[in-house]
């Protein structure tokens, strides 16, 4: 990756986030607020708040990754910015990374807030935060790649259709698998947690926070699944996404 690509990633990230942050600053709380919703119920019903906080972090990442990738690409196509950028000396990877990083920047305050509260309550320590951060980054990369893939395959879908799809998938992946609740609740189906990048990430963070106990081999297996999922979706995106159309 040369310097121009790195610079373009930063420019596209800035282009896709700073004007929104500057003129609609409330947008930075939007994803965090949606992700916090289950937290209120967890507090009201007296359940373990650490599940809610970890769930809110993962679900924020889920929205940011997949949802934002689909929506941004769809709208870029709609307003034709994408066509203008394709005809510039900009590498497609720089565009994709910029598009994926921009919503991360927009939602960073929410994410930082959740991390801060989690640490303040002692759910995560400084060393477990490192593992949590790595798993969250992998989850974000995997879901961004899924977002790019969907957008690539549904080229002719309207931005509205893609918006709806993104919301359904974002909510589905964030709320249905064991992201806000312990995977043990699924009993013999607890393996489902390993299948989805969101619940897998949530389980791994719980392992490092001490609220979930898994054998060492199982933890390694969960990491391998998360890394493999990310690599598979990233490779699929790189191989299927085309800068120039046929």
């Amino acid at each position: 990756m040369n310097l121009k690509v790195v610079k373009d990633v930063l420019v596209i990230t800035a282009l896709k986030s700073l004007p929104d942050l500057k003129r609609q600053p409330l947008v930075m709380f939007l994803v965090g607020m949606i992700s916090s919703l289950p937290l209120y119920f967890i507090i009201v019903f007296g359940a373990d708040i650490s599940y809610g906080l970890i769930g809110a972090m993962v679900s924020t990442i889920s929205f940011i990754g997949m949802n934002a990738a689909i929506q941004d690409i769809a709208w870029d196509r709609y307003v034709k910015i994408r066509e203008m950028i394709v005809a510039m000396p900009v590498h497609p990877i720089a565009y994709a990374m910029g598009i994926a990083l921009a919503p991360l920047m927009i939602s960073a305050p929410s994410l930082i807030f959740f991390v801060a509260v989690t640490m303040w309550l002692g759910v995560l320590t400084l060393s477990s935060l490192l593992w949590a951060a790595v798993s969250l980054i992998l989850c974000w990369a995997a879901l961004s790649s899924v977002g790019f893939l969907i957008s690539t395959y549904l080229k002719k879908a309207s931005p509205y259709t893609l918006n709806n799809l993104a919301n359904i998938l974002g909510i589905g992946l964030g709320f249905i698998p064991p992201v806000y609740y312990p995977e043990e609740m699924l009993g013999s189906f607890s393996w489902i947690a390993a299948v989805f990048p969101t619940s897998n990430t949530a389980s791994l963070i719980r392992v490092y926070s001490g609220s979930l106990s898994l054998p060492f081999e199982m933890v390694v297996m969960r990491w391998l699944i998360l890394v493999a999922t990310t690599i598979v979706f990233a490779v699929l995106t790189i191989s299927k996404a085309r800068w120039r159309e046929n």
């Binding site: 596209i12 004007p19 003129r23 307003v79 203008m84 394709v86 005809a87 000396p89 120039r244 159309e245």
Partner: protein, 303 residues
């Protein structure tokens, strides 16, 4: 060396059935000229522009920009072009300055160079005073000029604009024309697509008329107009039959109560006007327009 050259360019879209959008198009655009692709909707103008600007693969044939092969050397091509797509919209939260500045950075400029280029481009399209207004508060013409400025700030050698004035009012359209001609005066090459005849006639150095994926005529607006055997048109309002023009073989087109009679020379045209006026009809004559020739060439006229 030509700024843009295509040889036997073919594009077939495959969906439920194959649609041949370009059927072997050969076009050469010289450096420093404003060249227009003129044609009705579906003629292949946008397809041609998208292939040349490295956004779309051709099915067959070759295309070159400043000698670089658009298929084999897209990155070289992209360094020299800037594109304004058809029906381009703006992000409401962006300002014209942000558009021009960020796009300049993506061209590889430093922050200082980008600021200077953005200022120059916005001044050229007379948007500097509105540089910090968000696009959602701008008029349609101002938004379009903001997008043109973002392309202009790139300082590319070749600008490709796909129907940049569609949807604009007459004043805004003329503003855009002035900007385009100014760019040509500065030595830039412009490839423009339009279906607006007046636009093609007013701004083009040369143009090609495209119809159903084929280039059917190429030249300056004057050269294209000379392709018609009739050089003058007479517009008559009233009962044309009393003039006996249909019987003498003149090409006549009817629009409601008005008739357009196409004739070969000015004397003949003035003769018809004189006769019509004597019979109490309204009549006026003028040289044929590009639109007259275009309609004749693409065969969309009812004689």
């Amino acid at each position: 060396m030509d700024a843009v050259k295509s040889s036997n360019l073919v594009k077939v879209y495959y969906s439920k059935e194959a649609v041949e959008a370009l059927k072997g198009v050969n076009i050469s655009i010289r450096k420093g000229e404003l060249f227009t692709l003129l044609g009705p909707n579906g003629a292949g103008k946008t397809t041609f522009l998208r292939i040349i600007s490295t956004q779309l693969f051709p099915t067959k044939g070759g295309a070159y920009v400043l000698g670089y092969d658009v298929l084999a050397q897209p990155n070289e091509v992209r360094k020299h072009i800037a594109v304004v797509p058809q029906d381009v919209a703006t992000y409401g939260n962006f300002t014209p300055l942000e558009y021009a500045y960020y796009f300049s950075l993506l061209r590889g400029m430093t922050k200082h160079e980008a600021k200077v280029a953005a200022k120059k481009a916005l001044e050229a399209v007379e948007l500097w005073d509105l540089r910090n207004r968000t696009c959602r508060t701008l008029s349609g013409g101002e938004k379009k000029r903001a997008i043109i400025a973002s392309a202009l700030s790139s300082d590319a050698d070749i600008f490709m604009l796909d129907e940049p004035t569609s949807g604009l009012d007459a004043v805004a359209r003329r503003n855009v024309w002035a900007v385009l001609r100014e760019m040509v005066e500065q030595g830039k090459t412009i490839l423009l697509t339009t279906h607006i005849m007046e636009e093609a006639e007013m701004v083009s150095d040369r143009l090609v008329i495209m119809h159903m994926g084929t280039a059917i005529a190429e030249g300056t607006p004057e050269e294209i107009k000379r392709l018609a055997k009739e050089k003058f048109r007479v517009v008559v309002e009233g009962d044309l039959n009393s003039l006996g023009l249909v019987e003498n073989g003149s090409r006549v087109v009817k629009f409601g109560s008005k008739w357009i009679v196409y004739v070969r020379d000015e004397d003949e045209a003035l003769g018809i006007v004189g006769t019509a006026l004597k019979k109490g009809l309204k009549a006026e004559t003028a040289p044929v327009t590009l639109e007259d020739v275009f309609v004749k060439l693409v065969g969309g006229e009812t004689d």
